[in-house]
């Protein structure tokens, strides 16, 4: 027993030391998500919808639109003193969303859609949905959606005019995201593309097919400049892969050679036994 005592103390000491080595835990969510996420029915519905939205993907949470204090874990989080705005009336929705999407709101209000606001015309959530907010894209222009209010003909014209440019934007955006994931600084190009995309998407909201057609060539030329920069970087990466692949092949070859020499020694050792 006497011999075990130092061992026991060493064990306790080491145990306490290892306790100090921290392990990670889960990060907490906002009070809105925690309370509403635990509820069923209409109060709980927004949370799973929001999680699938473009807002969630970009870190825009409940309080960014509805106000309130997401750090308070009580009903007080939704008090007007803490900036809570609640749910807007239908006719107030363009102003509600337009606090961030300023340019889009202006274009929308000038369009036929905006002029019909309060008279049965669509507002933001009619096409983009609420909570499960969908990003602007030609996919939103479709017969199911548009024929709820009017004939699809003019909408189809606009969709045809914007599709190729939008695909170009999507392609460059994916490539930039890939480069960004590799640690390449594409912030400036992403900024330019973001601004171009917003400018282009503003055209959607004017619902003017002729204007879209007129401006497409200019957008495509500006997008081409970004595409060219992306191509230069991609070529440089391909070169890295080529040279790197050569070095890897040399290392494998060196490994195989060393293993063969070892095999030779091994045979000599066995012969000498």
């Amino acid at each position: 027993m006497k011999r075990l005592k130092p061992l026991l103390w060493a064990g306790i000491g080491l145990f306490l030391l290892l306790l100090a080595v921290p392990g990670p835990v889960l990060a907490a969510e906002t009070s809105c998500l925690q309370c509403h996420g635990a509820q069923s029915g209409r109060f709980g519905e927004p949370v799973p919808l929001w999680r699938q939205s473009i807002h969630a993907a970009n870190g825009i949470s409940c309080h960014n639109c509805h106000g309130g204090d997401p750090t308070v874990m009580s009903m007080d989080a939704m008090s007007p003193e803490r900036g809570f705005r609640g749910v807007p009336a239908k006719t107030d929705i363009p102003d509600f969303c337009g606090r961030c999407h300023i340019g889009v709101k202006e274009d929308y209000l000038q369009s036929a859609h905006g002029k019909a606001l309060g008279k049965g015309g669509p507002q933001c959530v009619t096409c983009h949905s609420n909570h499960k907010v969908v990003a602007a894209s030609p996919a939103l222009i479709n017969p199911q959606s548009c024929t709820r209010c009017h004939d699809y003909g003019r909408a189809a014209d606009i969709k045809a005019a914007v599709t190729s440019t939008d695909q170009m934007i999507g392609g460059i955006s994916d490539d930039l995201a890939g480069l960004h994931h590799l640690g390449i600084d594409v912030k400036e190009m992403q900024g330019k593309l973001f601004s171009l995309r917003n400018e282009f998407h503003r055209l959607f909201h004017e619902v003017d097919a002729e204007k879209v057609r007129q401006q497409t060539a200019d957008f495509q030329q500006r997008l081409g400049q970004i595409r060219q920069q992306v191509t230069v970087i991609q070529e440089r990466l391909d070169q890295r892969k080529l040279v790197g692949g050569g070095v890897i092949a040399l290392l494998v070859l060196a490994g195989v050679l060393a293993a063969l020499i070892r095999k030779n020694y091994h045979e000599e050792e066995r012969a000498g036994e």
Binding site: P24, L26, H181, G183, I184, L251, A259, R262, Y265, E269
Partner: protein, 366 residues
């Protein structure tokens, strides 16, 4: 007489270097049945050297300041010639080291190479394993990305579960109530100076123990003999063994080349395996990313904390396991080393490895 022979003769006359080289290379004999697992020590030394070298090169351009750290890493990746290669070698290299450390530790466990008189060798190796993980943890914060910031926040937060001194411990680790510039400063100092210094000393002790006690024979085949000094220290010689140089060194070289090839393959073709998207955004203390997960080698610990009803119990279970592993040579004292003759140990070993892998996969998908 050629010039290099004259240089060697000059050094030989003053330091007797030929004797040292002969004793440690050509006349240093290893067991004939030494297997490929024995090369992991050399692999680890090579990877440590690479970390040291790339770490010094990164230090030239890295700025340990919360306003500059992310920008300086970005500059290394995009503006410094071959900066991307140096950083990726450092990041991927740290993960390769953990893989090699785990393989080394598991092979030593399986072959019971920790058995008397090699308890100190095991303890120093186990210390190196933990220091390696501590280096990974401290290095994680340095890029000052979203991942760095929040992973360090949750990791240091767990120390708060320790009864009585929990809060003080968290403040001590962070240098304040929150992860901040102070945390970055102390993690930087630990990562580039404190821990490597300790690590270097422990590597020295580990190598000294290995060389002093002699290499243990693998417990396989007809060559296996029980070897145990009873009353006084004895170096384990291997008469009739193979010379370390050149015979065994070729095997070391082959495995080192294959490891370096694997490292470079990840660096060139798939560096993002070890770099999640949150690691590419600058730290923002006001935006918590949706899912912060620790590195793959901490996932088992992360899941353990979630399984237990309280964080303290989870930490206690981890502490108990690590303590058990550290003290294994003092607990498992039977002379038998052959796995086939130790069915209970082998069962626990296999179950332990499976549980570790299972918990990590669970932690990844939870």
């Amino acid at each position: 007489m050629s010039w290099h022979k004259r240089v060697i003769d000059w050094v030989e006359l003053r330091l007797g270097i030929r004797d040292i080289l002969a004793q440690n290379l050509t006349e240093y004999l290893l067991p004939r049945n030494t297997n490929v697992w024995y090369t992991l020590g050399a692999v680890l030394l090579t990877l440590f050297a690479l970390q040291f070298l790339t770490g010094i090169l990164l230090l030239v351009h890295y700025v340990p300041d919360s306003n500059e750290a992310f920008k300086s890493v970005n500059r290394i990746m995009n503006e410094i010639p071959f900066g991307w290669l140096i950083r990726y070698l450092h990041v991927v290299g740290s993960n390769m080291i953990v893989i090699a450390l785990l393989l080394h530790m598991f092979s030593v466990l399986f072959m019971k190479s920790y058995y008397r008189p090699r308890e100190v060798t095991w303890l120093s190796g186990f210390g190196l394993f933990n220091l390696g993980l501590a280096l990974c943890l401290t290095g994680y914060l340095l890029p000052w990305s979203q991942l760095s910031f929040w992973a360090t926040t949750v990791a240091t937060d767990a120390a708060g579960a320790v009864p009585v001194v929990g809060d003080q411990l968290v403040r001590f680790l962070r240098g304040g109530p929150m992860v901040s510039d102070t945390t970055l400063g102390r993690f930087f100092a630990l990562h580039v100076m404190g821990l490597p210094l300790l690590f270097g000393l422990l590597v020295g002790l580990h190598l000294f123990c290995v060389r002093r006690a002699g290499i243990s024979s693998p417990p396989f085949g007809s060559d296996y003999r029980l070897w145990e000094p009873k009353d006084r220290f004895r170096h384990q010689h291997h008469p009739g063994g193979i010379p370390f140089f050149p015979n065994y060194a070729t095997k070391d070289t082959a495995v080192i080349c294959f490891f370096l090839a694997a490292l470079l393959t990840v660096v060139i073709f798939a560096p993002t395996i070890f770099i999640p998207p949150d690691a590419l955004e600058p730290a923002n203390p006001f935006t918590t990313p949706a899912h912060i997960k620790p590195e793959w080698y901490f996932l088992w610990a992360y899941q353990t904390l979630k399984i237990f009803p309280s964080k303290f119990l989870g930490l206690a279970a981890q502490g108990a396991l690590m303590t058990f592993l550290a003290l294994l040579p003092f607990i498992d004292r039977g002379p038998e080393r052959r796995p086939a003759q130790r069915p209970i140990f082998v069962t626990c070993y296999v179950l332990g490895v499976l549980i570790l892998i299972g918990l990590s996969i669970w932690g990844h998908y939870s």
